[in-house]
């Protein structure tokens, strides 16, 4: 008896200790409850911030992961882009929060020839790189030539190769082998005849010509290219110091040796981990072990005139920026609570944890296309500020492979490989009715409510985003409709040896999402469930794979269905049509040849059309073709949430930034 009492007492004691130790956490709402009285009032304009940082000169960003590389010719992800846009600069830059208006940055101004083929840029005088070297037109020419001659299909160099080398030329090696067999092969390029190599290099050099005496760079395009200025604002067009880059072991600018630098990857670039730009910050260190990058202020920064109304001039206000990769959400959340993170990445699943800490909120006004005023929340004493509702330039879509490649011994992803209820034939998604049926069976509204918690909007079925040439809000979309889904399945032309269609046999296949991306898991699960509701014989399994494996299998066309996303590089329709219908993803759909040719023709005509109206006309037709063909199941566009400490000043949202532009930020 005595023993039992002791045991119970011990339990009570230990649990008591645990509960008490959780006490301070519970204290926060108690403090908040003291502020309940003012909460009854109408939300008023936020009171002047009384929040002050322990260290107002250092900005701490807590994010996920770390950059792949800091070589601007290669980097193609947002973590690296954030560093590049603060350390390097481009000839033109986005005007504050606009994705479509540009201000001169390293170019002081420019002119365009009447035929839209020749751009002449005056290069800004008196700008120096971080190591003290002066910026010259030759550096500008070198930087762009290096991108073009480097190739590397994992880099965004396509953005520059199309305007300079010609539409359809996605890599410089195609000037030698138009079939693309030399792509990414340095050894292959080195084996090519020297004279031929030299002529390719000279062609590239002739497209971007520097005149140091006149202070200009003249660029000659292969054809008129609608989004050319937008392309030059992208990180890929960052200007590096030619002399410094060559000293580090990058291309030396010679047409005799360029093949030895061709297809430099992020792993072997000599400037992958060091930088020397003209930007407002210098890279001080990059520690892989702690995934921490530290930037320090460039005290010799050139900018003396504001690039837009109210823009910063002179050296940045922040002396240091520390960007830390903290993959665990609980840790990031703690850092936000402790005030050690000025801003942190908050996954959509965790916003309900952070929202009680928001004391001030800035909502996006979709009609005005801008953020409204800051408003105090019901918990006005809380330390965070939320910028809410700006549409991102990202969309997650479900893709279908129209001719699945089946390895020897069969594929687990298509079951039996036959239309027998236990699998699907390799050409299952070649049937237009089946693709449309899947579109009608996808309930995106549930996804928006349950997963995005309302933070996403559906767009019409055209591949492009609202606000871009070619987008028409009145264009049709496939709305969730089980009856139409059934109708399309019944109309499918695919039959098995016994003449049975998919409605009678049912099907089984595996759809894939990359582990960790719960949005994709949710979407595919919703689709799988609604298919089962339409016909219990419709079995779609939902499987997760590590990203690298999924990439491998879908590029090998072995996955019948998978979910993926696209983040714009430039705010232009070409940046959607081209990857979805021709390049990055388009090449994995396994379109029939005539379909691929039809789409490619539209895409090429659209980008080369001389003016906006002409482009609009081409894209209008293309949108209809895309809708009729239904190559993808297009998802909603998530809107943005940005959380920051209320002592942060100067934040604005530009969807094309990779993270923050720290030059405009400061802290109280």
């Amino acid at each position: 008896m005595n023993r039992k009492i002791l045991t119970i007492l011990s339990f009570v004691l230990v649990f008591g200790m645990l509960i008490i130790s959780c006490g301070p956490k519970a204290a926060a709402p108690t403090e908040a409850s003291a502020a309940e009285a003012p909460a009854a009032e109408e939300p008023a304009a936020a009171a002047p911030a009384t929040f002050a940082s322990k260290d107002p000169t250092t900005f701490n960003t807590v994010t996920i992961g770390e950059p792949d590389t800091l070589d601007p010719a290669i980097d193609y992800e947002t973590a690296g882009a954030e560093i590049l846009q603060n350390v390097y600069e481009t000839l033109v830059f986005y005007k504050k929060d606009s994705a479509t208006e540009f201000v001169p940055m390293l170019a002081s101004d420019w002119t365009v020839s009447d035929d839209g083929l020749t751009y002449t840029f005056n290069i800004r005088q008196g700008v120096t790189f971080h190591n003290g070297d002066p910026l010259t037109p030759s550096d500008v020419a070198y930087s762009l030539q290096r991108v073009l001659l480097n190739g590397n299909t994992n880099s965004p160099h396509l953005l520059l190769s199309e305007p300079f080398l010609g539409i359809g030329i996605i890599d410089v090696s195609m000037l030698i082998d138009p079939e693309g067999n030399l792509m990414d092969s340095r050894e292959g390029m080195q084996a090519v005849d020297a004279a031929q190599l030299k002529s390719v290099c000279e062609k590239v050099k002739a497209a971007v010509v520097a005149d140091d005496a006149a202070g200009t760079v003249t660029m000659t395009l292969a054809q008129p290219y609608g989004p050319f200025i937008a392309t030059l604002a992208h990180n890929i067009a960052s200007i590096v110091d030619a002399k410094w880059a060559a000293e580090q072991g990058a291309w030396d600018g010679s047409c005799d040796t360029w093949q030895d630098y061709y297809a430099t990857t992020w792993e072997n670039s000599p400037i992958a981990e060091i930088t020397n730009g003209t930007g407002p910050f210098k890279l001080e260190s990059w520690d892989h072990a702690s995934k921490t990058l530290t930037l320090t202020r460039n005290d010799n920064y050139w900018r003396s005139e504001a690039l837009w109304d109210g823009a910063q001039t002179g050296p940045a206000k922040l002396a240091r920026v520390v960007i830390q990769g903290v993959d665990e959400w609980g840790t990031r959340f703690s850092m936000l609570q402790a005030g050690d993170a000025d801003s942190a990445v908050v996954p959509i699943a965790n916003v309900s944890q952070v929202d009680p800490l928001v004391g001030e909120r800035v909502d996006y006004d979709a009609k005005a296309g801008a953020f409204g005023p800051a408003v105090a929340t019901e918990t006005a004493d809380q330390p965070l500020r939320l910028f809410y509702g700006a549409p991102g330039l990202f969309r997650g879509d479900i893709l279908m492979t129209e001719q699945v490649q089946v390895p020897e011994g069969g594929s687990p992803y298509i079951g039996s490989g036959k239309l027998d209820g236990k699998g699907i034939p390799a050409n299952f998604f070649l049937d237009e009715h089946i693709r449309k049926a899947f579109n009608y069976c996808m309930d995106w509204d549930t996804m928006i409510q349950d997963f995005y918690q309302g933070d996403a909007v559906r767009t019409s079925y055209s591949l492009v985003l609202p606000g871009e040439i070619g987008y028409n809000p009145d264009d049709p979309m496939y709305a969730y409709d089980p009856a139409k889904c059934e109708e399309e399945f019944k109309a499918a032309e695919l039959v098995n040896e016994d003449g049975q269609g998919v409605w009678d046999t049912g099907f089984y296949f595996v759809s894939v999402w990359n582990s960790g991306n719960t949005a994709r898991q949710t979407a595919l699960t919703i689709l799988s469930d609604s298919l089962k509701k339409v016909n219990p014989k419709f079995q779609m399994e939902v499987l997760s794979m590590p990203w690298a494996a999924m990439l491998h299998y879908y590029q090998a066309k072995q996955l019948p269905m998978y979910m993926i996303g696209w983040q714009e590089d430039i705010h232009d329709p070409h940046n959607w049509y081209s990857p979805y219908l021709v390049g990055t993803y388009g090449s994995n759909f396994a379109f029939p040849d005539e379909v691929a040719a039809m789409f490619t023709d539209y895409v090429n005509r659209g980008v080369a059309a001389s003016d906006e109206a002409a482009r609009e006309a081409v894209y209008k037709e293309l949108n209809q073709k895309v809708y009729d063909y239904a190559p993808i199941i297009n998802g909603p566009v998530p809107t943005n949430r940005h959380y920051e400490q209320r002592w942060v000043n100067g934040y604005y949202f530009n969807p094309l930034y990779g993270g923050f532009y720290y030059y405009e930020l400061s802290k109280n």
């Binding site: 002791l6 011990s10 230990v14 956490k25 292959g188 609980g330 840790t331």
Partner: protein
């Protein structure tokens, strides 16, 4: 005793051979293109270029030749440079870490080692002490309390307990931050005003005579150490307690007491040395698991050790890195076992006598 130790040492190369064969066997499940990362950094995507890499590094040769190459390295006939070779310390190139696997281990192991050193002390000392107290006070309050206290820790998943202490001691009280060092220390290391010698920050701080850095390093170590300790105490407590209880019931203890030796002395001189034998075994295992990296604790506290790195590599399917870490772990396991075996012999005369 000497024979016993020599025998144990002679066993090490055999065990290492076994480990290398197992790891190499696992590597054979990879495509030649993936195995190329054992020798070179950037693997070409272009099939022709890839073919030439496969030929250059003999990835199409018979398995025993490949195994030999993997051990000693392979010469690139074009450049004359030797690539790979685990005996040369080249474990291949880590795609995830963007550096050679061995460098990744070098950069991250000091953090893991430091955490292990600081954690093992409270784990053993407090765990064993609790166990002894529980046994001596068998079925009394202190016994019940110690058992319940440690069982709760044992049943707590590390990620729950870790997050709990992080929320309390960092988010609310702001005492002990996550990470390994504060930004200002990192800045000092970067600027060269603080020199690193061992990369164990607590020791480097002492060498530099910098108590502020020492305190900063300790502040970052406290929470992971508490987490690791709390979830490990139950094991030590239970093993010490049951072993101690068993010893206390032995005839020689009764004899010792009958001779008039005080209970305290009887426990210290007779019971404890015998009761601690299984503790040595479990300590060896604990040290090995700590040195292999503690994935969850490192992840939660953003502590840059090898556990979180290996987990990250695994999630990115960077098999060469994962197996490099596995090999490293295997070597540590073998060496730690050797040490444990020797300690065993020192503590327990029966072992060294029976082998002699």
């Amino acid at each position: 005793m000497t024979t016993y130790i020599i025998r144990r040492i002679l066993l090490v190369p055999l065990l290492l051979l076994g480990v290398t064969i197992i790891i190499f066997g696992m590597l054979q499940f990879l495509q030649p293109a993936e195995r190329a990362a054992l020798y070179i950094r950037d693997i070409p995507k272009n099939p022709e270029a890839l073919e030439s890499v496969i030929r250059t590094y003999g990835l199409d040769k018979p398995i025993y030749i490949q195994y030999w190459n993997w051990l000693v390295g392979q010469k690139n006939p074009n450049t004359g440079e030797i690539h790979g070779g685990i005996l040369r310390g080249d474990f291949g190139y880590s795609r995830v870490g963007a550096e050679p696997v061995i460098d990744m281990i070098k950069h991250r192991f000091p953090a893991t080692l430091e955490l292990a050193i600081w954690a093992i002390i409270p784990i053993i000392v407090v765990g064993v002490w609790l166990g002894i107290q529980a046994a001596i006070n068998h079925n009394k309050f202190i016994d019940q309390f110690a058992r319940v206290f440690s069982i709760i820790g044992y049943s707590f998943p590390a990620f729950v307990f870790g997050l709990l202490v992080l929320m309390i001691f960092y988010a609310n009280l702001k005492w002990f931050p996550p990470g390994r060092l504060s930004n200002w220390v990192i800045a000092e290391i970067n600027s060269g005003s603080f020199k690193t010698y061992t990369n164990l920050m607590t020791i480097d701080a002492l060498i530099n005579g910098r108590l502020d850095v020492l305190w900063d390093a300790l502040r970052h170590l406290i929470l992971p150490v508490i987490t690791l300790s709390y979830i490990s105490w139950a094991t030590f407590l239970r093993i010490t307690r049951s072993s101690m209880l068993e010893t206390l019931n032995q005839d020689y203890m009764t004899t010792a007491k009958a001779k008039g030796i005080s209970t305290k002395v009887a426990i210290k001189k007779h019971a404890l040395p015998n009761a601690l034998i299984p503790v040595v075994t479990i300590s060896g295992f604990t040290v090995v698991s700590l040195l292999g990296g503690v994935v969850i604790t490192e992840t939660i506290f953003n502590f840059p050790g090898i556990g979180s790195a290996a987990a990250n590599a695994a999630s990115q399917l960077d098999v060469v890195t994962v197996l490099g870490f596995a090999l490293f772990n295997g070597v540590i396991l073998i060496l730690a076992n050797l040490v444990a075996d020797i300690l065993y012999a020192l503590v327990d005369p029966r072992i060294r006598l029976s082998t002699n």
